[in-house]
């Protein structure tokens, strides 16, 4: 099933590339992502009924294994459903940003990107993961550059060079891990490290390997000091691309990192070995990213750049959860992946709608937008409130999870940056909302209510994303149980 998803997306990508007509390309994009979402849900149901699946092709050390456990299903559903909603929303938005003759290319790149992201998450053998990571960086840089403006080339070059730098670091880490453990499979690495007690005899190798992998993933997933490509790339890309880049692309690398750290080393060794030191660094850097990302976001005047810097802050949360290094911390990080994906994709699509309708990306000129585009701004409000962490929205649940992980691991001081960061989030999302609905311009606005609104059928996918935000905010129980089971399977040795 996992292979079917990857193949489907790749075939869709090729089909979109070769078709000349932009209408056909849109249909291929929409159809393939819908099928992908359905397949992902079917796969999840199968795994829930009959346990994790594993497919191997090839033999010996060359074997490429695809392991579908709970976490992989969770990510596949996320890629499938959020990807489908974003592609649906892009149907009406993309022609604003991308020339007509580049539209087949855009959909081809999006489908190829989703396929490679699925592959990054599914593959068990590091060789497959590495190749998928490289391919996904191409496709990700591609959907930034497809807009064909010089600032996009600038952002794309920056993104490409730093993300290739990240993959080289990851490759070096993988190689050292291979030399130390003699295995290229995450399961084999887990057996070598946990079973043969390599942490005692070869701790320097393993620390170096994980240090390099952490540095590489920090570049790829925009952890704070390595985030410099993110605001440019996410800010200049066409809005649907920004939504995909920030809600899905960053997450695939983080899940790979989680699989490497928690699947490879395991909770017990993390607590009592030099790995703890490394994860402490990850945790502290994550905390710095939480604060710094929000502070930088406050300083922005461009709406998409503000949302992009907010992504930097949210990545900090996820890395803090990983750095805590307990089951609760991992759970909080995984849940935040879901929460950030549904919220941030909605916010980017809303920003795209605003820019498309008003031809303005300056936050200071957005007063009165609540009167001109009430539905769009209501969606922005939902996203903003979820990012701040107001109850009833999914952001609250993930903040709650982080707080309980912090308390559970006795790192009480982390509660201070957590709450400061929530306040900073409020500082840059609320002014936009307040100015749009209640500001002076809103009172003086003479135009009729909703005069610049996009048609509801174009806004429907964004409304569905907002519904997901509220749904997971009100009823997160099933997802939480699912993720708990996933963590158990992920950390079992020799899965």
């Amino acid at each position: 099933m996992g292979i079917a998803i990857i193949l489907l997306l790749m075939i869709g990508a090729v089909a979109a590339f070769v078709c000349k007509n932009d209408k056909t390309a849109r249909l291929i994009g929409l159809g393939t992502t819908l099928l992908n979402a359905i397949l992902a849900v079917i796969m999840t149901v199968t795994v829930m009924n009959s346990g994790p699946q594993s497919v191997t092709f090839g033999s010996g050390t060359w074997a490429q294994t695809i392991n579908i456990g709970y976490i992989e299903c969770f990510m596949a559903c996320l890629f499938g459903i959020v990807g489908f909603l974003i592609v649906w929303a892009s149907m009406s938005m993309i022609s604003h940003d991308v020339e007509e003759k580049k539209i087949p290319m855009f959909y081809g790149l999006v489908l190829a990107l989703l396929g490679t992201l699925n592959a990054v998450v599914f593959f068990e053998s590091l060789l497959g993961v590495f190749v998928s990571i490289e391919l996904s960086s191409f496709a990700a840089a591609g959907i930034v550059i497809v807009k064909n403006q010089t600032e996009n080339v600038h952002a794309g070059l920056k993104y490409l060079s730093l993300s290739i730098l990240g993959s080289s670091l990851v490759l070096m880490g993988m190689v050292i891990l291979f030399v130390a453990t003699g295995s290229l499979h995450i399961g084999g690495i887990a057996k070598a490290i946990q079973g043969n007690n390599l942490m005692a005899s070869k701790s320097a190798y393993i620390l170096w390997a994980y240090g390099l992998i952490s540095a590489g993933v920090a570049f790829k997933a925009a952890l704070f000091p390595c985030h410099i490509w993110l605001p440019d790339a996410h800010g200049t890309a066409p809005s649907p691309s920004s939504a995909i880049l920030s809600s899905l692309v960053l997450k695939a690398y983080i899940v790979f990192y989680m699989k490497m750290v928690f699947g490879g080393v395991g909770f017990n060794l993390i607590a009592n070995s030099p790995m703890r030191m490394l994860l402490n660094v990850v945790m502290v850097v994550g905390v710095v990213a939480m604060i710094a990302g929000s502070v930088l976001a406050i300083m922005q005047t461009d709406i998409k750049r503000m949302i992009a810097y907010s992504s930097v802050a949210q990545m900090g949360y996820i890395f803090m959860g990983i750095g805590i290094g307990t089951e609760l911390g991992l759970f909080a990080a995984l849940f935040h992946i879901l929460s950030h994906a549904v919220t941030k994709s909605g916010l980017f699509l809303v920003a795209g709608s605003i820019i498309e309708q008003t031809h303005n990306r300056d936050l200071n000129k957005m007063g009165g937008l609540g009167i001109l585009m009430p539905v769009t701004m209501a969606l922005f409000t939902i996203g903003g409130l979820s990012m701040i962490g107001i109850p009833l929205f999914v952001g609250f649940n993930s903040k709650w999870n982080f707080a309980s992980a912090i308390v559970g691991s006795n790192n009480y001081w982390l509660l201070i940056p957590l709450s400061i960061s929530a306040l900073l989030n409020a500082l840059y999302y609320l002014p936009v909302v307040i100015r749009a609905f209640f500001g002076q311009e809103a009172k003086e606005c003479t135009e009729p209510l909703g005069s610049k609104e996009r048609p509801i059928k174009d806004l429907l996918p964004i409304i569905l994303l907002a519904c997901l935000v509220i749904l997971f905010g009100v009823a997160s129980g099933p997802v939480s149980d699912f993720l708990q089971k996933g963590i158990e399977i992920l950390t079992a040795i020799g899965r």
Partner: protein
């Protein structure tokens, strides 16, 4: 300690090359030099891998004269990794060079930060 460094000179060379490449990518402003840095990084990883896969006195892992005894050949997996890596590195280089070309045609410079697009974020360039 020093003796170890001397014995593992391949690995030492690979790590030094890797650091050179990393610093080149991060510190150089010229795009072509950045791409060269990326290539140096990749090559150093290949050197590291090839050195790790080599076993003194054995043949390359291509079956010759029907000899299938594994103890006569070196470890084939690192070599395979190197091959995969080379393919990826070549495509990375091609893609970044083509982007660099577009950048150069637009601004007649290879410096990515020199021409920083000053007006883009103020909304002036945007319609």
């Amino acid at each position: 300690m020093m003796l170890n460094l001397f014995h593992n000179y391949y690995e030492v060379a690979a790590v030094i090359l890797f650091s050179i490449g990393l610093l080149t990518v991060l510190l150089q402003r010229n795009l072509i030099k950045k791409i060269i840095g990326l290539n140096i990084m990749d090559t150093s990883v290949f050197l590291f891998l090839a050195a790790k896969g080599y076993i003194a006195g054995r043949m390359s892992p291509i079956i010759k004269d029907g000899m299938t005894d594994a103890s006569k050949y070196i470890n084939p997996i690192p070599s395979g990794l190197v091959l995969t890596g080379i393919v990826v590195a070549v495509s990375v280089t091609a893609f970044s060079l083509s982007l660099t070309l577009r950048w150069y045609q637009q601004y007649k410079t290879l410096d990515l930060d020199g021409v920083v697009l000053k007006n883009v974020w103020r909304g002036e360039k945007y319609e």
